[in-house]
Symmetry: C2
Subunit: 566 residues, 2 copies
Amino acid sequence: MRLSRFHLHTTKETPADADVVSQQLMLRAGMIRKLAAGIYTWTPLGLRVLRKVEGIVREEMNRAGALEMLMPSVQPRELWEETGRWQKFGGQLLKIRDRKDAEFCYGPTHEEVVTDWARSELSSYKQLPVNVYQIQTKFRDEIRPRFGVMRAREFLMKDAYSFHLTPECLARGYQVMFDAYTRIFERLGLRFRAVQADSGAIGGNASQEFHVLADSGEDLIAYSTGSSYAANVEKAEAAAPGPRPVAAEAMARVATPAQTTCEDVAALLGLPLERTVKSVAVVGASGFCLLLVRGDHQVNEVKAANLPAIGADYRPATEEEIVAHLGCKPGFIGPVSPQREITVVADRTVAAMADFVCGANTEGFHLTGVNFGRDLPEPALVADIRSVVEGDLSPDGQGTLALCRGIEVGHVFQLGQTYAKSLGATVLDENGAAQVMYMGCYGIGVSRIVAAAIEQNHDAAGIIWPEPMAPWQVAVCIINPKNDPAVAEAAEALHGELQALGIETVLDDRGLRPGPMFADIELLGIPHRVVVSERGLAAGTFEYRARRAEAAEALDKAALLERLRH
Amino acid sequence: MRLSRFHLHTTKETPADADVVSQQLMLRAGMIRKLAAGIYTWTPLGLRVLRKVEGIVREEMNRAGALEMLMPSVQPRELWEETGRWQKFGGQLLKIRDRKDAEFCYGPTHEEVVTDWARSELSSYKQLPVNVYQIQTKFRDEIRPRFGVMRAREFLMKDAYSFHLTPECLARGYQVMFDAYTRIFERLGLRFRAVQADSGAIGGNASQEFHVLADSGEDLIAYSTGSSYAANVEKAEAAAPGPRPVAAEAMARVATPAQTTCEDVAALLGLPLERTVKSVAVVGASGFCLLLVRGDHQVNEVKAANLPAIGADYRPATEEEIVAHLGCKPGFIGPVSPQREITVVADRTVAAMADFVCGANTEGFHLTGVNFGRDLPEPALVADIRSVVEGDLSPDGQGTLALCRGIEVGHVFQLGQTYAKSLGATVLDENGAAQVMYMGCYGIGVSRIVAAAIEQNHDAAGIIWPEPMAPWQVAVCIINPKNDPAVAEAAEALHGELQALGIETVLDDRGLRPGPMFADIELLGIPHRVVVSERGLAAGTFEYRARRAEAAEALDKAALLERLRH
């Protein structure tokens, strides 16, 4: 490819409305162009990268035995009514009415359509397992589309669905997909982690997310420094604490006139923060409730919501509710002697504490030396309701936890029978009895990967593509201010030779000065740059620079080819 | 690929609601599955074929120097308002409202989006010409979706757009696309014809359609038996007739009591039909009008509508209007002595007739020996308003015309400045002056090609794929009722060997009896079938049959490979 014939359009200015570095660099390099909020055109440059990702995903899905198909983007309301998701999916579902007033949606995902396909195409256990996938444009009407293609409304996704007779077969199929995903992200050249995820509202048993690691990631991930354990902080289990020590202190009321946080109370009393207990008042499925976590810990909302007593719809209690139940304003509340009967849920760490400090339910006072079973009843419920922190023991007992940030680019789910049941997708088993199929679903955000890769790999000059994702592996730059035909010919020859070796090469024949030309090549993130110039030709060398290298070096042809072939 | 692991689902029954043979065979072979009216899932089998077409289209577009990009499917109303097409496009435009009540459409085509891209990305004549394309899902809300994927609402299209500084450059770019299309349809192995088309409402100068020839095609095509001339009958020019003979008869009124058609009048009078003139009463741009064509000819509605005096909105006159203007009911009307003044438009053939027969504007009577300039004024307008018929002289003077039917699968257009003007897409020319760009647009119905290929290539047993479109080139069928491991091994080995030679091969290891197995392979249209059986192994041969061959033949390995390599 000659860059003079390729439609390249770079800018130096950082676009005003770009929130994250990947969006800024994709716009500056001219990979994408915004058409409307969350809706982007992929230019020829951007599409080259997108297709690289798509190609690797496709190859590994095929290798894993999945069959590619193509389902419609426009889906009838009736099907979504069968699973109840026409309502439940919420505002992200883009609804459409056709000229005959029939209702449709622009598919944000394809569980309904694929299960409808399965119920009519699969009739016998002999046809199972089946894994089908597609790489297709989806639409989710995000209320705040942002971060460019990272959280766009129209996006490219690979979604796969597997069908099985038994949960054991589903677990095997799930593992096959897990392994395929691992190969995909390895082949893409990205630093990533597979983490345990909360399966949340989708239900099902097992669920893991694949995150590209990047400081700018929206998700917080906990991983063990001593094992392969990793989990989304939403889900990461806090290791069970040791047994509760014996009570050693008597309960006492201490004045804390202006101390409304555990930090302030601990400082006033000269005690470590780990001796205090924080009481978080919420209203959930079983009414007013106090969640107790250690002073230096935070309530994990996802874990709390997963407790039946709390439930997904829980909310913070209002000041009025707090006063009504505890007889005291926030800042001094605690689980001892509430005004009315309340439910107390203690984090496992708290349940293992003795002689702790908590609010006295009297304004201006806290209690010290508090002990369960003596000063207040044992908690109604003991559960893991806190987020893990750096340094926690890994729940698998190997090493301690560290935290990092990630961008979710893949997700594998064991859905179980949820969709198959509501859509009546059954097959006959060996005994001729109808069995509801077990399903797995497996997504990869193809367009999001492009942005995530940039978040992970960039510097002040621009993008630094992992080789498998680069639009071209090598840029051959012609520096030829005197228009010496020998220079142009040498560059053409090198370009041709590299192409013939199967190395994707672009020839920068735009006739720019070295400054702007090199700036473009660096902004575009091309892994290898080779300069052909009069001076180099005279010395029998090419100037070579890897995108991540500090400086260029002069290499003769043989050394150059050696370098580019790896 | 092993067929046992491929999700194949064939049926013997012809689906009740399938109108055309391609739809029947695609459903029976399990290539597509209907989700809603005009909305289909492409199964793994169907997608294999679709991807073959897509691949050839992409390769030839790239070879022609076009750059692939990917524009959004969801497009904002504002852009369509700029060209006036938000209203003008009509009911086929699927309109969408998002959660914030902003209006969008599901792109049925991308002139607006690509011109918006061009106006912001292209600023100098130095960047021109540019040709960009995409292969993308489109939606047209057809009022009567039918014929399966042939006239579906959601479909896959390749659309390309070129931008130029001058009409001459546009003409060159258009020719490049014309040549690329010719290569595409040649490589697909389809019998096709490029025909001149009416550019109709889209405007612009030149426009050609590519038709796959098939008896079931919706379009009628005229082509010369003596040259490369071909045109859609909508557009095909009727060659100019010779000069008008001198009048030889006197005008006479003859009783035709029950003869209301030219055929009946000619029969009664014992005259050839070619001596009669048919008068077609319409109301158009210039009011009530008689269109005169020879008795054996038909008015061509597209040609008539293209006359400014008639216009696109013309309609047949009502009986009341006919009586009011001609003083006579339909069946006996003609251009001589109308009640009121009327506009007469004569086809060129009619204008060259003398002594013709036409209605007398008196019920029960016709006139014979009628001559222009003597019995009635010369017609107000003489134009080519008839459809060509088999045997007409070719308008290029070489040979005569024959007719065939075709399915439109591609269209190339010189749009000119229409869209660029309304969207203000200009570049600076060599003198620094802003110039509105010239545009071409070039479409290929990728999914329609699959159906069109079947319409052209099928027999009673099923589909007969042209090799480049076949899901696999070769099926290796295992006939092994005794479960002889040697037979299975020989088949596996042959399958592996063919794959290694780069011949796409599927192994039919489903263990079916020969009847159902061969029926499936024929229904699927696989070009080459090879049977591995105990008997064949004993004789050292394979049973080979080409899909179009009458019978199978026994070939040894060397002969088989020779045959499959061509």
